[in-house]
């Protein structure tokens, strides 16, 4: 029995993608590279370790416990300030403190950015602790910290990072694969041939869309699997919501890719613009840096980026940060409708009667 043209197109498009090493790398394995790098980095950040602090005291009551209890420091005792300097010079420690009851002298390894930020913290927290202790200050305000969850479980920094990388995977599939595929078709003249074939534009775009969805699912499962098995992410996955997120977000990102294909007739220009957009979104959408750290003009730009909203939907689906149901529906619908509209338009423009040959 002959397969329908639609099914044939889906299968052909899928096989073509699987044979294209570059496309498979960027869709499936590029996000994995980020999981490997940033997942391990974030896991290290979450496993908090105290900083070594060289310490010597020449006068007054022993304050070692006061310093240790200020939270962030693991003390290493030295007999004299010169010994601390020698240890820093040798590389045994990067930060030291000499205290004589009245003066706190901090020694630090010069030229090290990480040590500079620790030095600032030390000057603030240790000096405050020493002043409190030496003056027997009874604090007027007692500060306590309370952590709460924005989702179904108490997420870690690693969970947030991995959710961001899943969003990048969806972006990669939707945006880059559409741009490279259509670019390839345009350059090789396949689009012209397809126009002449008895193929409805809607069948063509649906076929392409379905093959991208399948790749999107593969990408998501690979990243999710690696995150859960190797990095011990603590997601509480709502599979239905995740499926809706995947479909709507992939459609939304495909919309962006198709917009570029329609604007830029030169495939290389469309490709480069897509890559620029992708990198811009990586940095500005709150995936690797919180948007609070961005200057105001960059914060304004970040509100326009679709990846920011994809990341919101993904975090909701993984139980990390819940949003109101109506907001989930609104964001998913906007992304999906945008995608469907662009697919229809792309079908008409690229394959329809008004398409230029």
């Amino acid at each position: 029995m002959r397969r329908s043209p639609f099914i044939s197109l889906v299968v052909a498009s899928f096989r073509e993608s699987m044979r294209n090493k570059g496309e498979i790398f960027f869709i499936l394995f590029f996000p994995l590279l980020f999981v490997f790098i940033f997942g391990n980095l974030q896991r290290d950040n979450d496993n908090y370790r105290k900083t070594w602090l060289g310490f010597c005291q020449s006068a007054g009551a022993d304050v070692a416990d006061v310093i240790s209890q200020s939270g962030a420091w693991e003390l290493k005792r030295y007999d004299t300030p010169a010994a601390i300097r020698a240890a820093i010079q040798k590389g045994d420690i990067r930060l030291g403190l000499s205290y004589d009851g009245n003066r706190a002298r901090y020694f630090y390894k010069e030229g090290d950015l990480a040590t500079q930020s620790k030095l600032r913290l030390a000057r603030l927290s240790i000096t405050a602790a020493l002043e409190r202790h030496s003056n027997q200050v009874r604090p007027l305000l007692t500060i306590s910290r309370h952590q709460t969850s924005a989702g179904k479980m108490k997420a870690s920094g690693l969970d947030y990072t991995l959710a961001g990388i899943i969003s990048i995977g969806i972006l990669s599939v939707g945006l880059m694969s559409v741009v490279t595929m259509f670019g390839r078709y345009r350059k090789s003249g396949v689009l012209n041939q397809l126009r002449m074939a008895p193929l409805k534009p809607v069948s063509f775009v649906m076929g392409i869309t379905l093959s991208r969805m399948v790749l999107s699912v593969f990408s998501l499962l690979i990243i999710l699997g690696c995150s859960l098995l190797f990095l011990r992410a603590s997601f509480e996955v709502d599979w239905l919501l995740l499926f809706i997120t995947l479909i709507s977000s992939t459609l939304g990102m495909m919309a962006l890719g198709l917009l570029l294909v329609l604007i830029f007739r030169n495939p290389e220009t469309a490709n480069t613009t897509a890559a620029i957009l992708m990198f811009g979104m990586h940095f500005l959408a709150g995936i690797f840096f919180p948007t609070a750290m961005l200057p105001d003009y960059m914060k304004a730009i970040s509100t326009l980026l679709p990846l920011k909203y994809v990341a919101t939907l993904v975090r909701h689906s993984l139980g990390i940060e819940l949003i109101a149901p109506h907001l989930f529906i609104l964001l998913s619908s906007c992304l999906a409708l945008g995608g469907i509209l662009m697919l229809w338009l792309a079908g008409r423009k690229l394959l329809g009667a008004e398409a230029r040959i």
Binding site: N40, L41, S134, P139, L141, Y160, L322
Partner: protein
């Protein structure tokens, strides 16, 4: 003469490609601008802005005054917080969970009997970086407020004198700015892009399109073709670096050591070792798609594991072995030491030896496959 004419045409053909100009020159400069804007504040709160939800519980006049003064200091025009008052904690926490607030401060209330102090409860979202950073800042601020109150109310308050001393510094003895820290990284990024992507893609394209075969029917020899390719790469790198130097000097005020002989020699070592690695990619990958994949993997790993943007020496051993393997770790450290910055405890001899070893081994591998790469087999 024909060599230089050929090199010139080769270079012009390459530089006319928008992708080459963008990824080799424009993108690293944009990244420099972006990262300096975001992370170049040197730990100052300027530029950062957090949303603070404030819930005030009724408390005594003394408590109210202390809390109000502290809040005014951090929410004014210079402060990093934008405060929103809430009537109830539940409402504030809901707003925090929905992302509208980064941290919620519940201030005042009944006196704590054991310490005779007023409670300040800071609520944050677990795992969310902006929430944790905001809470850390607020905790330090309120801690400092306690001391200020004690200083003002106790005439015999004994303050601690603070001073700092740098150890093993350079003659310039200055603190490190993130823009200085980033300068060698961006320089190496430019070289990586040209060496690991442009170079092997270009060689692969000329081979697969048959252009090489046609060229070798002319009096031009493969070695001349290859030499022209190398010169083209070096010129592209030099143009990128010149623009980077101009931006760093005139806009960011990066100064120390970047015009030193040692710094230039390290840049040259970087160019040669990275170009060699790119040639190996051209040797082992037969198709352009394979070149792109291998080149991108090497590019990303060398960039992130090389300590370009953040310190990498405290990473777990599951990834730390990559830090020691990639030549960019040593190159970026060598460049930084030329600027008076040190991030690794490693003798300088190793910083030179490892990239040199990469260069020699890669050159050896490429020379064995020279004819295959040139399509002259």
């Amino acid at each position: 003469m024909r060599f230089w004419r050929f090199t010139r045409s080769f270079f012009l053909a390459e530089i006319r490609e928008f992708e080459v100009v963008f990824w080799s020159i424009v993108f690293p400069l944009l990244l420099y601008v972006f990262l300096s804007a975001v992370l170049g504040g040197n730990g100052k709160a300027g530029g950062m802005s957090f949303n603070l939800g404030v819930v005030r519980n009724s408390t005594s006049a003394v408590g109210t005054m202390a809390i109000s003064k502290t809040l005014d200091a951090v929410t004014g025009s210079e402060g990093p917080f934008v405060a929103t008052p809430f009537a109830s904690l539940e409402e504030a926490l809901e707003q925090m969970k929905s992302g509208k607030q980064d941290v919620v401060a519940e201030l005042g209330g009944e006196l704590i009997p054991s310490s005779q102090s007023f409670p300040v409860r800071l609520h944050s979202i677990s795992g969310k970086e902006s929430s944790q950073v905001a809470t850390n800042i607020l905790e330090l601020v309120f801690d400092k407020a306690n001391l200020e109150v004690a200083r003002l109310s106790d005439h015999g308050f004994k303050g601690i004198v603070i001073d700092t001393q740098a150890v093993a510094g350079s003659a310039s003895s200055r603190s490190v700015d993130y823009k200085d820290y980033l300068f060698p990284s961006v320089a190496l990024m430019m070289m990586l892009s040209v060496a690991l992507l442009n170079s092997p893609l270009s060689l692969g394209f000329y081979r697969s399109s048959g252009t090489n075969r046609k060229i070798f029917t002319t009096p031009l020899r493969p070695l001349e073709f290859f030499a022209a390719h190398l010169v083209k790469l070096l010129i592209t790198m030099l143009i990128s670096l010149t623009l980077l130097y101009a931006m760093a000097w005139f806009i960011y005020g990066v100064r120390d050591g970047i015009f030193g002989l040692g710094f230039f020699l390290t840049l040259l070592l970087g160019m040669l070792s990275l170009i060699s690695i790119g040639l190996v990619i051209a040797a082992i990958a037969s198709k352009e798609s394979s070149v792109m994949v291998i080149g991108q993997i090497c590019y990303q790993i060398m960039m992130f594991m090389g300590g370009f943007f953040f310190p990498v020496m405290d990473l777990p051993w599951s990834v730390k072995w990559l830090v020691y393997l990639v030549p960019t770790t040593y190159l970026v450290e060598l460049l930084r030491r030329g600027m008076g910055i040190q991030t690794m405890e490693m003798a300088t001899i190793w910083l030179v030896t490892v990239p040199l070893a990469w260069m020699l081994i890669s050159a050896g591998v490429f020379s064995l496959n020279f004819r295959k790469v040139m399509g002259h087999a």
